[in-house]
């Protein structure tokens, strides 16, 4: 499989009045054509900033992409002009946002919001664009699409709006769809439906998909490969099943332990990861996870571990794992 997106050592910072927030510190990952990957991590670990950085949509002027590359089919997105970048957004990379309730313009009908990009990127006429919008709404499972295109966002429920957002994201047949926690704001019962839908459509149309989530359960089911992010860097990545069953980083293992399981007998209370994610204004010098790590070695305080391949395709950045001990692994 050939690589579609290759992000290398992305560094994004925010200049605030209190100091510089180092939101993303050298994150790297790749997405192959037609592949689904997942980026996992808890709140504030830089998942969303990473995806917004790829689209160059981080808040200006505080936010700044300091260094790194984001190669889409070989062209570095971070070096394009504003105008060139604008032509890529929506047409080649599109995004599904977290909040369907606020991601649609309240004063425009659904149809109008959808047809605009079809006219812009696919150069359709008004009638043609409207017909296509109806088709897309049908595709994402909106009943009575012919009527619903004339409705306003407030006529739709959260789940329905997210379906509309999905329809908009795929409308220009992009090569890559970034779904930034697409199911956090909707009902649990709708979550799996939406994920099935996103996965199904991107698969069918041969699009690559980056699924950003904090739910490791989602990952095992939908993504082929997983990147676990912590404090703005990737601490572990590999094939989904391998990461799921043999986590090589204590953080990944902690994430897994803190999720309730339905397919295993209950073993008592859930085990949360103790402590708080680091303050990204002054992250730890050594391993970023060290202050919360029960297995930390003296080395972890001073030296930052780099990613190393521990099993085929399975990388981790952890001194303890390098030493051959994975005490946290399930037996």
């Amino acid at each position: 499989m050939s690589t579609l997106l290759d992000v290398r050592n992305l560094v994004t910072r925010f200049h605030t009045q209190d100091g510089v927030v180092k939101a993303v510190n050298g994150a790297s990952f790749t997405v192959a054509k037609g592949e689904t990957i997942a980026i996992v991590g808890e709140s504030g670990c830089g998942k969303s900033v990473t995806s917004l950085s790829i689209l160059r949509l981080i808040a200006q002027p505080q936010g700044k992409i300091v260094s790194g590359e984001a190669l889409l089919d070989g062209t570095d997105l971070l070096k394009l002009s504003t105008e060139e970048m604008r032509k890529i957004r929506g047409a080649r990379i599109s995004m599904i946002f977290q909040e369907p309730m606020s991601s649609l313009n309240p004063v425009l009908t659904i149809g109008r919001q959808m047809t605009e990009q079809l006219e812009l990127h696919r150069h359709m006429g008004q009638q043609e664009a409207l017909a296509e919008a109806i088709n897309l709404l049908k595709l994402v499972g909106i009943p009575q699409a012919e009527r619903r295109v004339k409705d306003y966002p407030h006529h739709f429920s959260g789940g329905m709006r997210q379906r509309v957002m999905i329809a908009m994201a795929i409308s220009c047949k992009p090569q890559l769809v970034i779904a930034d926690e697409p199911t956090t704001a909707v009902d649990v019962t709708i979550q799996s439906q939406l994920l099935e839908l996103i996965r199904g459509i991107t698969d069918e149309m041969g699009m690559s998909l980056i699924l950003i989530t904090h739910n490791l359960g989602v990952v095992a089911r939908y993504a082929r490969r997983v990147y676990v992010m912590y404090a703005g860097t990737v601490v572990e990545h590999g094939p989904a099943l391998s990461v799921y069953h043999h986590p090589l980083h204590p953080y990944t293992s902690g994430l897994l332990a803190s999720v309730p399981r339905l397919d295993e007998p209950r073993k008592g209370r859930l085990a949360p990861i103790e402590g708080q994610p680091p303050d990204m204004m002054c992250p730890p010098v050594g391993c970023p996870f060290q202050p919360r790590c029960a297995y930390a070695l003296p080395k972890c305080l001073t030296d930052r571990p780099e990613l190393q391949e521990m099993a085929p395709g399975h990388f981790t950045a952890c001194w303890v794992a390098f030493s051959g001990e994975t005490l946290w692994q399930k037996t």
């Binding site: 929506g90 313009n105 004063v107 425009l108 990009q117 009527r147």
Partner: protein, 308 residues
């Protein structure tokens, strides 16, 4: 949808089919109609507007025609609201005065919109240095007392080509418009700045929307409600300003009737012929109240959160 009978599943499709499509303005219109004060305001405005437009059909008197044999007449069947110190019919003068007032209200707000909206939108969406420059200019304008600046401007404009257009009324339009636009531009800028932070704007940018497109399509339509409300409140303010200017004698030129000038003329004989002051004063109060009610109603109606 208010049917008392429970729709069975086979009927469900028809029931949803029957729900009418309403645009947002349609929705606002329905809410506005339910507001009694706003409706009352609209009716008063309508009555004044009809009176102003059809004045020649309603009264047989000419607003400028003097009849020195019948001055200071009390209201009667002949002169409905009496006559003034030059024997002119007060009812006719009030009707034609409504023309002046409404014209001032509407045209100044047009000028306000024409200047304030683009400047506010430009400053808000561009941001940075452009925004800073424009808003400092607005601040300077804002720093001057309004009425002083208007008097100054009208004195200056009187000497230009506008001086004699329509009995000096154009000078009033321009003077008030050129001062009042700062409010709207501030409002529009504030709206745009806050809307820019909204998710749907980021989403529109993620879809590849251009800056101007986002301003025109996403930012401005969303701030339309507050703009309409501000303009509606601006109308009575302009009417009042014109009345004040005419009262101190620098408004429209006589004999063009203006409510402010009528109060000025009647002021000296207030105790012998009180109707000369009461009639225009009540007219001013009524039209201001009407526009304020309508503005309040519009504010509630155009706010989607007030949806019941």
């Amino acid at each position: 949808m208010t049917d008392t009978q429970q729709p069975n599943p086979s009927e469900m499709a028809e029931v949803t089919q029957a729900r009418p499509h309403r645009t947002l303005l349609n929705d606002a219109w329905i809410r506005l109609r339910r507001n009694r004060l706003a409706v009352a305001g609209a009716i008063i405005i309508l009555i004044f507007a009809l009176g102003a437009i059809f004045a020649p059909l309603i009264t047989k008197y000419n607003f400028a025609k003097q009849d020195l044999d019948s001055i200071f007449l009390q209201p009667s069947g002949v002169h409905w609201l009496g006559t003034d110190e030059l024997g002119r019919d007060v009812f006719a003068r009030m009707l034609y005065g409504a023309r002046t007032s409404l014209a001032v209200g509407i045209f100044t707000q047009l000028i306000v919109l024409l200047i304030g909206l683009p400047i506010g939108a430009f400053a808000g969406s561009k941001g940075g240095r452009v925004d800073n420059l424009l808003m400092r200019f607005v601040d300077i304008m804002y720093g001057f007392p309004d009425i002083l600046l208007i008097i100054l401007l009208s004195a200056v404009l009187r000497g230009t080509v506008f001086g004699n257009m329509g009995g000096g009324i154009f000078v009033i339009f321009l003077a008030i418009g050129l001062v009042a636009w700062v409010n709207v531009s501030r409002l529009v800028r504030g709206q745009i700045l806050s809307l820019k932070q909204r998710d749907f704007v980021t989403a529109a940018r993620a879809m590849g929307g251009k800056g101007t497109y986002i301003t025109m399509r996403h930012l401005l339509p969303n701030s339309l409600g507050p703009i309409i409300v501000s303009i509606t409140f601006g109308v009575p303010r302009a009417i009042f300003t014109e009345a004040a200017l005419s009262y101190i004698g620098i408004g429209v030129k006589p004999p063009t009737p203006s409510w402010g000038a009528m109060i000025h003329d009647g002021y000296n004989v207030m105790f012998t012929a009180p109707h000369l002051v009461i009639v225009p004063a009540v007219a001013i109060a009524l039209i201001m109240l009407a526009f304020t009610f309508l503005g309040d109603g519009l504010r509630d109606a155009l706010d989607p959160r007030s949806r019941r």
